[in-house]
Symmetry: C2
Subunit: 445 residues, 2 copies
């Protein structure tokens, strides 16, 4: 069998890269749990009838077939791999509503699959980390403030601990835009939103032109564009909106809610969140606050973390389950940084100590040393072969293992970086804390 | 939309059950890393040409198709979901051999999929935790001793920490049986092994009869069965085999290797491993030591952890990669215990403290208390609504949250189990360690 070519769109990590990913996932989990979010996992498959409900995306679904299935038997309902974690979560909420306490906070870190054409930053298999809060029939507005703060805190922790680039989250509110458009007497607000969504891509003049096509006069079109160009780090966006002289009850609600988000973020994670009235989140099913996040300096990667409020995440015929949530594209964020060597692990194995073996007859002695070290939580392996010591040291060096132990319980331990080799007892010796486990750090210019 | 029926064969856990699973996975990871195993993940899909190499199992493969794929375009190589973690690992080793240091120890905890008919204890989606050591061209015999000890230590840690039932691992060696059969002058040793494998199911008389059908006389057939009935907790199996009066070089090798496994396990995890010469592991691709493990008292669940030595895990045309490994069926072990309520989490959310809200105007004060507690690693949430305090306490109670905080930074904290409500400062108050995080424990009769 010849060397197998990697599959395009299905990134796989080397062990040292996986350490970084695992570290990041552990830190995310820590932050989410600190805020009371419970972890769940859903099955990888959903019934096609569920997946197809979300419109546009159905092209990208991977459909499953049992190899042994009777090709003539009609399937009752085909299965497909989930393409996000929101559709499965909505189904999970309906299926388990009687066993959940609402409002229900959950985080979910899993792979999702999309059968799309692979391209830079787009994968067919990738890991997402989602947090959502879902209520039964109602969900208070302060959760729209909570969700971005939790995700920003998680990303800020990664910035502090491994030097992940800082992020900038841009927040808007659909009620704000909707109210503004209605205040201008526009009825088909969705058509306007759809055109404004292209502002960043095609520019203000082209948007004004496309708005004229759907019947907006120059004055109203220019106000629509003026609204979308408002972007402030504090709540001064309110005055800028007011200066446009439009009034509507929905606009007031939107302004109030967006102010609450911006004010809270300024206190909790200063500099990481702005009100940006151009954010529309395309055709997504959001009904209120919307979020989008870029890594500063890596804006070309696109949004790494997006989400928003949806007034009806799920509906079972009687109860409605409104929610607000945000999703972090873990692979989208990490794979390019790993490929560029921007995030690195200090070694390729968890091992802190390699116990050298004198000869195969005394391997039991090396095993005893390893047991004593592991009993105190020090990751240890025993050399695979009683080679010359130089070769055993190279075995450690190739893997980045910092220490090699020679002799029995009363032996010597060499720090292979400094060459120091003091006497040590396996029942008491401790490596420095920073060598005990694999460290993850940023390697930025 | 009416209530959705769960999909048979795709178990999903409630939040409190998922805590237990996550706890178990964390402990497994801890043990594996303590022994120097590096974590990897492989993509969920493999090319069908790779998956189909393993014979019998191809019936159970889930094949993938892109919903938007042109039905007339011939697929170059279809993709299927992996049905174990060994086939993907072998492919990963070949694909990344130049970046790995051998012998390479890896653990891999992932879901696998099998399109088989769902039945008690059989799932279509389930989680496995595998450890393997793979060498380049050669792999020393002492790794056959290491692998079962690491898995037994992992299971013993779960026995100690959450009261998972104790396990019994049964170990055999294919060289031992092969050598014994050859020593009896049998040529088609595979045919004999295949029949002996049914001993437990059909009994000794039926096996002797089936051996007669392939030409074994009564004396040799009875020796074959006598060998398979040997089971000892120490190395006394050697004398029992010798007493059968058969000699062969392969037999000697097998006896020596099995003795090493049994002796090492008696020291490291006494009572958890026996030499059992009936273990054959069916048609699997093992070539040396083989392992099978039952939960004591739950033997009807079948083997929860199996594996063995394979002399050619992978081959790239030049190098051979021999390996030895063992797989733990995490779902197979946990799902029945969770369903029976044998393993339980102390609460359904990570939250240790609920901060009560006086009125919506002072929610900021509750938020500040929560921030102060979280800053010291105490999982905290703020009440969703300024309800009457009795209702806010019930909110905590329903989720198993042990503490409710009243007032600002200088407030009072109620232990809702005892009713005690001392004054406390949010910058310094600490819950007892056992209340800080969710506890997992066993609820056995």
């Amino acid at each position: 069998m010849s060397r197998i070519r990697p599959l395009s769109g299905f990134p796989e990590l080397l062990p040292s890269q996986r350490f970084v990913e695992q570290y990041v996932l552990d830190r995310l989990r820590e932050t989410f749990e600190l805020h009371g979010y419970a972890g769940i996992e859903t099955r990888a498959v959903e019934q096609m009838s569920q997946l197809a409900r979300k419109g546009e995306i159905d092209k990208e679904i991977y459909v499953l077939r049992r190899l042994s299935a009777d090709p003539n038997a009609a399937e009752t309902d085909e299965l497909g791999l989930h393409f996000d974690l929101t559709v499965p979560f909505a189904r999970y909420v309906l299926e388990n509503a009687g066993h959940l306490a609402f409002p229900f906070r959950r985080y979910q870190i899993q792979k999702v699959w999309r059968g799309e054409r692979p391209q830079e930053g787009r994968y067919r298999e990738f890991t997402q980390a989602d947090i959502d809060i879902v209520g039964e029939n109602s969900l208070a507005a302060h959760h729209d403030v909570e969700i971005p703060l939790v995700m920003l805190e998680a990303l800020e922790n990664l910035h502090d601990s491994v030097g992940l680039p800082p992020v900038l989250m841009r927040v808007n509110n659909r009620q704000l835009a909707e109210g503004f458009y209605r205040g201008l007497g526009i009825e088909d607000t969705a058509a306007v939103l759809q055109r404004v969504d292209k502002l960043e891509k095609i520019g203000a003049a082209a948007v004004v032109e496309s708005l004229a096509e759907i019947g907006l006069d120059a004055e109203r079109a220019s106000k629509v564009v003026a609204l979308a160009r408002i972007r402030t780090e504090d709540d001064s966006f309110v005055d800028q909106v007011r200066a446009l002289g439009v009034n509507h009850e929905l606009l007031d609600q939107g302004l109030e809610l967006l102010t609450a988000v911006v004010d809270a973020a300024r206190e909790a994670v200063p500099g990481r969140l702005v009100a940006d009235l151009s954010i529309a989140r395309g055709l997504d099913y959001y009904t209120g606050t919307v979020y989008e996040t870029a890594l500063v300096g890596y804006e070309s990667m696109g949004s790494i973390s997006s989400g928003g409020r949806y007034d009806s995440l799920a509906f079972d015929g009687k109860q409605t389950y409104p929610g607000v949530g945000i999703s972090l594209g873990v692979s989208r964020m990490l794979v390019p940084l790993l490929a560029k060597g921007r995030l690195v692990a200090s070694r390729s194995v968890p091992t802190a100590v390699l116990v050298a073996v004198n000869d195969e007859e005394t391997r039991w002695e090396a095993d005893a040393v390893a047991r004593a070290l592991r009993a105190r939580g020090i990751p240890t392996e025993v050399a695979p072969k009683a080679d010359k010591f130089g070769k055993q040291i190279r075995h450690a060096d190739r893997r980045g293992i910092p220490y090699v132990w020679f002799g029995g319980m009363d032996g010597e331990v060499k720090d292979i970086r400094s060459g120091d080799q003091p006497a040590a007892n396996a029942a008491t010796w401790e490596p420095p804390a920073e060598d005990r486990t694999v460290r993850v750090s940023g390697a930025w210019d």
